[in-house]
C-alpha cells in the first residue's frame, strides 16, 4: 500500500526561502480492523511555515484527525500504527523520539485543540486548576506564578473577570467560553505550533466568528507561531488561512494558496466541493451541484485514484494507476492525471 515517491510541497512562500517549522513527509497510518489492516492515511506531505495559518480540509473520514494525531504522536496504538514517513520539527523526526522525549514537546512546543472539547476538559477540576497544571507540567514555576500565568492567558482569550472565575468548573461556562478555555490550555506554554482540530464546528456562527478572530489575533501576536487549522468548513478556511490542503480518501489531493484553491481549484474533487456550496453562483431554490455517489470506506478504497468512483472526469487509466502529486507553475500541487501535461 505504499505510494509513489512524492514531490515536496513547493507552494509556500517562494519569495522567502525560509525553512519550514514542521514538515510531514510520506506519512502513512494504518488501523487494525476485523477485516485486516486498513490504511487511513497514506502519502501525506506538507510543510507548515512560521507565522502562517494552514487550512486542512476534506471529507469526513478523509484522515484529517489521524494526520493531526500523528504529528502529536497520539494515535491510539493498538489499533493504530504509524507505518511510514517522517514528521520533522527543528531538524528532528518526532516519530523517532521516545515517549518521554515526546511528552516534553507536546503541550510545550506543539499543542493541540481537540475535536471534542468536552472530553478534553476535566469536569471535576476547576478551570483555573487545569490551566495551572499545564504550566506546572512543563515549566519550573511556583504555584503563585502558575496562577498569574493562567489568569493572564484566560484574560487573553477573552474570559471576562478571569481572576474571579478561576475556581469555576467547566459546566459553569457556556460552549463558546469552554472553547476559549481549550485555546488557553493549548497556548499557555507559548507553543510554536498549534494544531486546531475543528475548533469551531460545535459552535454557532457568532461564537465561531469570535473564536476565529481570537485565533487570528493570537497568530499575529505570535502567541502561536504557526497554526494548522483542521475543518470541513471551506468558508472558515477561506476567511482565515493563507494556504490550504485538501484531503480525500487518506491522501492530500490538492494544495496551494487560498487564492489559488478557491479561485482556480484544479482537482475534480476540490472543484466539485466548491461548486456544491450554495452561494452567489447558484440561484436560490435551484438544484445545487452535487458530487454523485458516496465516500468509499477505508476498507474498500478503489485502486488507482481514490476519487475515481465519483469523479466526473474519470478516465480508464484512473482506475488502474494512482496519480502522483503534480506540481504546477504557480506552486499548486494536484493529484490528478489530468494535470500531467501541465506539471512542471
Amino acid at each position: 500500500m505504499s505510494s509513489a515517491p512524492e514531490k515536496q510541497d513547493t507552494t509556500a512562500r517562494q519569495d522567502s526561502p525560509r525553512k519550514p517549522l514542521l514538515s510531514v513527509r510520506d506519512l502513512e497510518v494504518q488501523f487494525r480492523t476485523d477485516h485486516g489492516p486498513a490504511t487511513a492515511v497514506g502519502g501525506v506531505n506538507f510543510e507548515l511555515y512560521s507565522g502562517e495559518m494552514l487550512g486542512l480540509v476534506g471529507e469526513s473520514g478523509s484522515g484529517k484527525t489521524v494526520t493531526a494525531l500523528s504529528v502529536m504522536r497520539l494515535i491510539p496504538d493498538p489499533p493504530g500504527k504509524i507505518t511510514g514517513g517522517k514528521v520533522l520539527f527543528e531538524d528532528i523526526d518526532l516519530l523517532q523520539l521516545t515517549y518521554s522525549q515526546m511528552r516534553r514537546i507536546r503541550g510545550k512546543k506543539i499543542a493541540m485543540i481537540f475535536q471534542e472539547p468536552m472530553t478534553a476538559l476535566n469536569p471535576v477540576f476547576s478551570i483555573g486548576m487545569q490551566v495551572m497544571e499545564t504550566v506546572r507540567t512543563h515549566e519550573k514555576v511556583t504555584r503563585k506564578e502558575a496562577f498569574e500565568r493562567a489568569v493572564d492567558m484566560l484574560t487573553a482569550v477573552g474570559i471576562p473577570d478571569a481572576r474571579k472565575r478561576m475556581g469555576d468548573y467547566p459546566h459553569q461556562f457556556s460552549g463558546g467560553m469552554r472553547q476559549r478555555v481549550m485555546i488557553a490550555l493549548a497556548l499557555v506554554c507559548h507553543p510554536q505550533i498549534l494544531v486546531a482540530d475543528e475548533p469551531t464546528t460545535a459552535l454557532d456562527v457568532t461564537t465561531q466568528a469570535q473564536i476565529m478572530d481570537l485565533m487570528i489575533e493570537l497568530n499575529q501576536k505570535r502567541e502561536a507561531a504557526a497554526i494548522l487549522l483542521i475543518t470541513h468548513d471551506l468558508a472558515v478556511v477561506a476567511e482565515t488561512c493563507q494556504r490550504v490542503i485538501v484531503m480525500y480518501g487518506g491522501r492530500v489531493q490538492e494544495s496551494g494558496t487560498t487564492e489559488h484553491i478557491f479561485n482556480s481549484p484544479r482537482h475534480p474533487y476540490t472543484q466539485g466541493l466548491l461548486r456544491s456550496l450554495p452561494g452567489p453562483h447558484q440561484k436560490p431554490k435551484s438544484r445545487l451541484n452535487a458530487i454523485a455517489g458516496n465516500v468509499p470506506s477505508i476498507l474498500d478504497m478503489p485502486t488507482g485514484c481514490r476519487f475515481c468512483t465519483r469523479c466526473p472526469d474519470v478516465m480508464d487509466r484512473c482506475h488502474r494507476e494512482e496519480p502522483p502529486l503534480h506540481a504546477l507553475a504557480n506552486g499548486q500541487l494536484v493529484r490528478c492525471h489530468l494535470l500531467e501535461e501541465e506539471a512542471t
Binding site: V205, L234, A235, A238, E239, Q282, R287, I291, N294
Partner: protein
C-alpha cells in the same frame, strides 16, 4: 396564499428542578410568545443562535414535547389546516393526534441516533405505514421499495441495518420514513448539518425535488445560513425564544433589519479568500441564559443601537417598508453601512 399552519402566541416553558428536595427552582422560557404562519407549499427557514428555541418550536409543531419532556408548559395555539378545517394541535389528546401525526412528520438532525440500530431500514420505513395505514403486508413492502427508490437507494437495501450506511444515506432513510405516510408538512430539524458538503447538496436537491413533486410544505431549521437562504421562501430569525425578524428569504439574507439578524448574517463566513471578516458586526458579551431572560427587548444587553427604553418595553413585531416583520422600533437607526450587502455577489 393559503395557510397550512398558524402558530399563535406559542410559549414553551421547561421547569428546572434543583436542591435536595428536587423542587422547581426556575423556568426556561425556551419559546416566548411566537406568532407566525406557514403557507401551503412553502419552505420556511428557522435560524438563530444555539439555544434560541428552534428545536423546541419544531417539536411543539409536531406535538412531541409533552411526551418527551414531562412538566413542560405550552401555551398558545398551533392551528393545522386539515381538509375539514383548522385544528389546534396543542389541544389534541394522544388518540386525536394520531391522524394528524401522519400529516406532520419530522426529520431529525442526527442521522446516527435517529434510526433504530436493531431494525432493518425496511422495517424502519414500514413502521409508520403499520401505525397510520391499513395497507396489506404486500402493499407495504411495495411502498417501502418505492420510497427507497425515490430517495435514491436501491430497494435491495431494505434488509440492511443502519450501521451499514453513510451519514448521507442514513439521512435519506430518515427522509423516506418521513415520506411514507404522505405527510403535508415536514419539519426538518438541521437535516443536513451533520453531513459533508459534498453530500449535503445531494440531500438538499432531494428535498427540493420532493417538494416540487408532492407540493410538500417544509419548516427547515439549520444553522448554515447560506443553505437556509438557498432552500427557503421565507426566513424567520429567533433570539432567546423570541421571533425577531420574518420576511422573504433574499430580503432577510441580504438586507436584514433587526440588529440581531444583522450581526448573525454578518458573521456567516463566505467561501471567498479573505472573506467578509472586515464587515462583521461584533456582538458584545455572551448569549444570556434563558433562565434569566433580560427584561424588555431580550437583545438589549448586546445590541449595538440599544436605547434607554429597550430594557423596559418588549418590542412588538412591526411591518417595515420593505415588507419584513421586525421586532425593533429602532431598526432604522442602523446605518445601512456595515452589513448591507455582505452576503451579495462579491464582484
Amino acid at each position: 396564499m393559503e395557510p397550512l399552519l398558524e402558530i399563535r402566541n406559542l410559549s414553551v416553558r421547561f421547569p428546572v428542578w434543583g436542591g435536595v428536595l428536587r423542587h422547581k427552582v426556575g423556568e426556561v422560557r425556551a419559546v416566548d410568545d411566537i406568532t407566525l404562519t406557514v403557507h401551503r407549499g412553502e419552505t420556511l427557514g428557522l435560524v438563530g443562535e444555539s439555544g434560541c428555541g428552534k428545536t423546541t418550536t419544531a417539536k411543539a409543531i409536531c406535538n412531541l414535547l409533552s411526551e418527551m419532556s414531562p412538566g413542560v408548559i405550552q401555551t398558545g395555539q398551533i392551528l393545522f389546516y386539515t381538509k375539514k378545517g383548522p385544528v389546534d394541535i396543542l389541544a389534541q389528546n394522544r388518540r386525536d393526534m394520531r391522524p394528524l401525526r401522519a400529516q406532520i412528520q419530522m426529520i431529525f438532525q442526527d442521522p446516527y441516533s435517529s434510526l433504530n440500530p436493531r431494525m432493518t431500514i425496511g422495517s424502519t420505513i414500514e413502521r409508520p405505514l403499520i401505525l397510520h395505514t391499513r395497507l396489506s403486508v404486500k402493499d407495504r413492502r411495495r411502498r417501502v421499495s418505492e420510497l427507497l427508490d425515490r430517495v435514491g437507494l436501491p430497494p435491495e437495501y431494505s434488509n440492511r441495518y443502519p450501521h451499514e450506511f453513510s451519514g448521507g444515506q442514513r439521512q435519506r432513510i430518515g427522509i423516506a420514513r418521513a415520506l411514507a405516510v404522505e405527510p403535508e408538512l415536514i419539519v426538518a430539524d438541521e437535516p443536513v448539518s451533520a453531513l459533508d458538503v459534498s453530500v449535503q447538496s445531494q440531500v438538499i436537491n432531494l428535498l427540493q425535488d420532493l417538494q416540487n413533486e408532492f407540493g410538500l410544505t417544509y419548516v427547515f431549521v439549520a444553522h448554515d445560513l447560506s443553505v437556509v437562504h438557498h432552500i427557503s421562501d421565507r426566513i424567520a430569525v429567533m433570539y432567546l425564544g423570541n421571533l425577531v425578524e420574518l420576511g422573504q428569504s433574499s430580503q432577510v439574507y441580504h438586507d436584514p433589519l433587526h440588529p440581531y439578524s444583522q450581526a448573525l448574517l454578518s458573521a456567516v463566513p463566505q467561501p471567498i479568500p479573505g472573506g467578509n471578516r472586515h464587515r462583521r458586526v461584533k456582538l458584545q458579551g455572551e448569549i444570556p441564559s434563558p433562565l434569566d431572560k433580560p427584561t424588555g427587548c431580550s437583545f438589549h444587553p448586546r445590541c449595538p443601537i440599544a436605547q434607554p427604553d429597550c430594557s423596559v418595553n418588549v418590542p412588538p413585531l412591526e411591518k417595515k417598508e420593505t415588507g419584513q416583520l421586525v421586532a425593533c422600533p429602532y431598526s432604522s437607526l442602523v446605518a445601512k453601512s456595515a452589513v448591507g450587502d455582505s452576503n451579495k455577489t462579491p464582484s
